[in-house]
C-alpha cells in the first residue's frame, strides 16, 4: 500500500521539521488537548547514559540477555511490565507494551542488542567502555545498533512518564541475534511470539539524518533492506598444484573476474543504494 508508506514517511519527515529546538522543558498544560513535551536536555542525558551503559555490556558473542535485564530493571522501576523471551540461554529478547485505546493497530519500536566483534588492537579506545571523547560516544554498537535501542527506549519511557494518550499500542522490542543469528531474535519472535509484536508498522534501524552546517539537510528513511545475492562463477584452466600457480589456472581467471567486477562498482553517494 504505497499511499500508506508515503503518508507515514511524510509524517516522520514533517515531525522532524516541526520539532522544537533541543533545549529545556517545553511544558504545555494540556488543557487545550495539546501534548506535554519532554525536557529534552534530561531526555538526551538519559539516552546517552543508557547507550554508554549498554555499550559496556559486551554482546559480541551473544549475552543479549544481560542487556535485556538492564532494560527490564529500568522498566521495573518505572512500573512498566516487560518480559524477556529466550530461544537459547543468554540470547534474550525483551518486549514491552504501552496500551492505547485500540483505535489503530500498534506501532513497533525495535532495535538489536547484539553487536559484531572487534579487533581490539585496532581501536584507539576500549571498545566496550562507552568512552566519550570530543563530542562522540565511542564503542561497539554505538551506531549499530544500541543507539536505536537507547533512543527508542527513551521515547518509550517519555510516552509512559508523560502519560501521552495513545490511539494505538506502542511496543518496544530489544531483539537478539540480528548480526547473523536472527533465528534467536526476530525469527523466534515471529515464529513463537507473533502476538507480542504484531503491528501495523515498525520503526527499526537503517536510516540516517544528514546535517549541513548544523542543520538538517535531509532525513533518510529506509523502506527496504539489501539482501545477500549469491553468484556462481565457473572458470576453466590448466589444473595443477596450488603451490605452483600458473597464469591460466581457473582460480586466476576467477580472481581476475572478481577484480573486474570490483572496478566497475560506482562510488557511494547520497541517495544511492
Amino acid at each position: 500500500m504505497m499511499g500508506r508508506h508515503g503518508n507515514i514517511a511524510a509524517v516522520i519527515f514533517v515531525a522532524l521539521m516541526l520539532g522544537g529546538p533541543v533545549g529545556g522543558a517545553d511544558s504545555i498544560d494540556g488543557a487545550d488537548g495539546s501534548l506535554s513535551l519532554p525536557n529534552w536536555i534530561e531526555a538526551g542525558d538519559e539516552a546517552v547514559g543508557n547507550l554508554a551503559d549498554m555499550i559496556k555490556i559486551d554482546t559480541s558473542s551473544g549475552n543479549e540477555t544481560k542487556v535485556a535485564r538492564y532494560i527490564k530493571a529500568i522498566f521495573d522501576k518505572e512500573g512498566i511490565e516487560s518480559e524477556i523471551l529466550e530461544l537459547q540461554p543468554g540470547r534474550g529478547n525483551l518486549v514491552a507494551r504501552l496500551r492505547g485505546n485500540g483505535t489503530k493497530r500498534p506501532v513497533l519500536l525495535m532495535g538489536h542488542t547484539d553487536v559484531v566483534g572487534v579487533e581490539r588492537e585496532m581501536w584507539s579506545v576500549e571498545p566496550f567502555a562507552g568512552v566519550v571523547k570530543d563530542g562522540y560516544l565511542y564503542g561497539r554498537g554505538a551506531l549499530d545498533n544500541k543507539d536505536n535501542v537507547a533512543v527508542y527506549l527513551e521515547v518509550f519511557l517519555l510516552l509512559h512518564r508523560l502519560q501521552v494518550p495513545l490511539d494505538r499500542d506502542v511496543i518496544f522490542l530489544a531483539q537478539a541475534g540480528e548480526e547473523g543469528a536472527s533465528s534467536v531474535g526476530m525469527g523466534f519472535m515471529v515464529a513463537q511470539h507473533w502476538d507480542k509484536v504484531d503491528c501495523e508498522f515498525a520503526l527499526d534501524e537503517g536510516g540516517s539524518i544528514s546535517l549541513r552546517d548544523g542543520r538538517v539537510f535531509y532525513v533518510g528513511v529506509s523502506t527496504m533492506e539489501k539482501v545477500p545475492r549469491g553468484m556462481r562463477l565457473v572458470a576453466e584452466g590448466t589444473s595443477g598444484h596450488g603451490s605452483i600457480p600458473l597464469a591460466d589456472n581457473a582460480i586466476t581467471h576467477l580472481a581476475a573476474a572478481t577484480c573486474t567486477w570490483r572496478a566497475r562498482l560506482r562510488p557511494r553517494s547520497a541517495g544511492r543504494h
Binding site: M1, I8, A9, V11, I12, V14, A15, L16, L18, V22, D32, G33, S34, L35, P38, W40, G44, A47, L51, G100, N101, K104, V107, L109, M122, W123, S124, V125, G135, Y136, L137, Y138, G139, A142, L143, D147, V151, E154, V155, L158, V164, P165, D167, R168, V170, E200, F201, A202, L203, D204, G206, G207, S208, I209, S210, L211, G220, V221, S222, T223
Partner: protein, 56 residues
Amino acid sequence: VHAYGLGPPAGIEESVRVHGNDERISVAGVRQFVEFVYHAVTRVAAVQPMASTDKD
C-alpha cells in the same frame, strides 16, 4: 508489516566505522534523534487534539 529504518545524524565519517574500528556516534546526534523519534511516534500514535470547528 511495513517497516521503516530510522537512524541518528551520521556522516560518512561515522558510517564507515560501523562493523569497523572506533565506531562512534555524535552525542549531540543522540539528543537530536530522541527528539525526532518522539515527535514522529507521537504524530502517528498519540491521540490527536480535536481540530477546531470554529468557522470564523
